[in-house]
């Protein structure tokens, strides 16, 4: 199962026939294994990693530290899921340290990102404070590098 998850994480689009051969599984048992991962909620979805320098360059990404007041019932969960439901929010994590939630938002431009923080996020009662960091450049994302390393030279035949 570990190897299957590795493959899906590296490239979920790899032809299933290749995947079956790499894992030494029949195509049927591979399909069944993937279906089970999906049904069990282990695999939640498949996405492309987009290079923002090349596509939709107006779009902004911000990482926001959010300090919140936990509730007596439910702690951080209810407020976190409330924030996570905004469509601007790509990711939302509860973290240890100086603040509570780390959220990643995407907005079509700077004005909209600012509006989200000012009008939606900060106005929630439990939110005590926010600190917004705009992304300037991406070096690595979900394991993929944005600048491709040049391949090292190898001898064509070696002992």
């Amino acid at each position: 199962m570990d190897a299957l998850i590795d493959l899906l994480q590296q490239n979920a689009l790899m032809p299933r026939a290749d995947m079956a051969r790499l894992l030494d599984l029949t195509p049927e048992s591979l399909e069944a294994a993937i279906a089970k991962l999906e049904a069990d909620g282990v695999v939640l979805g498949y996405q492309a990693i987009i290079n923002r320098e090349r596509w939709d360059t107006e779009k902004v990404t911000a990482i926001i530290e959010v300090k919140i007041t936990p509730e007596r019932d439910g702690g951080f969960d209810r407020i976190a899921s409330r924030i996570a439901k905004f469509e601007e929010v790509e990711s939302c994590y509860l973290v240890s340290g100086g603040y509570d939630l780390l959220i990643v938002i995407e907005a079509s431009n700077l004005r909209r990102a600012a509006a989200f923080v000012a009008e939606k996020l900060s106005t929630i009662d439990a939110v005590q404070a926010t600190a917004t960091h705009f992304r300037l450049k991406t070096y690595k994302e979900n394991g993929a590098f944005h600048q491709i390393d040049t391949a090292a030279e190898r001898l064509a035949v070696s002992p």
Binding site: A3, D6, D24, V157, S158
Partner: protein
Amino acid sequence: MSIAIADHVRDIPRSGIRDFFEIVQTMDDVISLGIGEPDFATPWHIREAAIYALERGRTGYSSNLGLPRLRRSIADYVRKHFGLRYEPLSEVLVSVGVSEAIDLALRALLNPGDEVLYHEPCYVSYAPSITLARGVACPIETKAEEGFRLNAEALERAITPRSRVLMLNFPTNPTGATMSREDLEKVAEVCVRHNLVVMSDEIYSEITFDGSSHSSIAACPGMQERTVFLHGVSKAFAMTGWRIGFACAPVELIEAMMKIHQYAILCAPIMGQDAAIEALDRGEQSVEKMRREYEMRRNFIVGALNDMGIPCRKPLGSFYVFPDISSTGLASREFSLRLLSEEKVAVVPGTAFGPSGEGHVRCSFATGLPQIKIAMERLAAFVGRMRA
């Protein structure tokens, strides 16, 4: 004036691999399954540790035997992974790759005419290294149907009064053969009975598959005192270019090897030694990640070869398969040359690893899956034509 070359050097044939490499070099767009080194770059944390060491100006000689800190890491690693205890400061020597350690051990052990036994097909340097150390190379043929393991009876038959050393390399380059603990114990028993010294090159020991684990012959009863355990960081840690190997052996032998090493080499490069400390101390996860990748590629290549009617055993170690190509009616060398010129796929003829490699070729799966896939398609087309 013509310069006379020493007889024993002049008589060594050129490496079959080198020969082949020179042909490949003249061609474009060749997909090579001929490469005996990982396609991964050295894991970043190891490279980064080396950069840090360079920044601190660690660029001088080290002690002849290697940095004491590295020797401690080696002793810890060997104890943890092989169950062998060596005294780091007196029983460990850091060499320029395992190749140098093999040369040192042979030169330290052999008197002219002493015989060295080894299983064949085997790594290309064994026979020449024995010859250069003025020994006599005595190959023992291993068979495909026995998984290219060394058979203890065949070993016993090959022993003569001049037999002095047995060289082992499991998992084996080029066959991917592995030996279980029971197989090794039978061989060990013969070695003890005939008082052989064993040089065990275990460079591929981390790269094992299907949950099988590697055992060292040095861990068999009565063996550690007569074994030179040889290992290094090249293969498992993807560090071929750093040139760091090591030998662990009884103190009197390390002392003798050190004499040759100090005069010939002085010490292994210190930047490689610093990188090796990081690799051995903290590289386990990186090794496991690469091992898993090799295992998947092995599944792919073995499946593809068998599907095209080229019988191929599923190796339990190394990153090589050694399929039987005799059904094409071509000899290994002809097969490899024609495959290269007609389909631009490079494999290494089995005969580069000794005459008993005839009928086989070595394909390395230390190459990315996209290349392996294309190579298998081209190979299938070639095999189809040969049979038509």
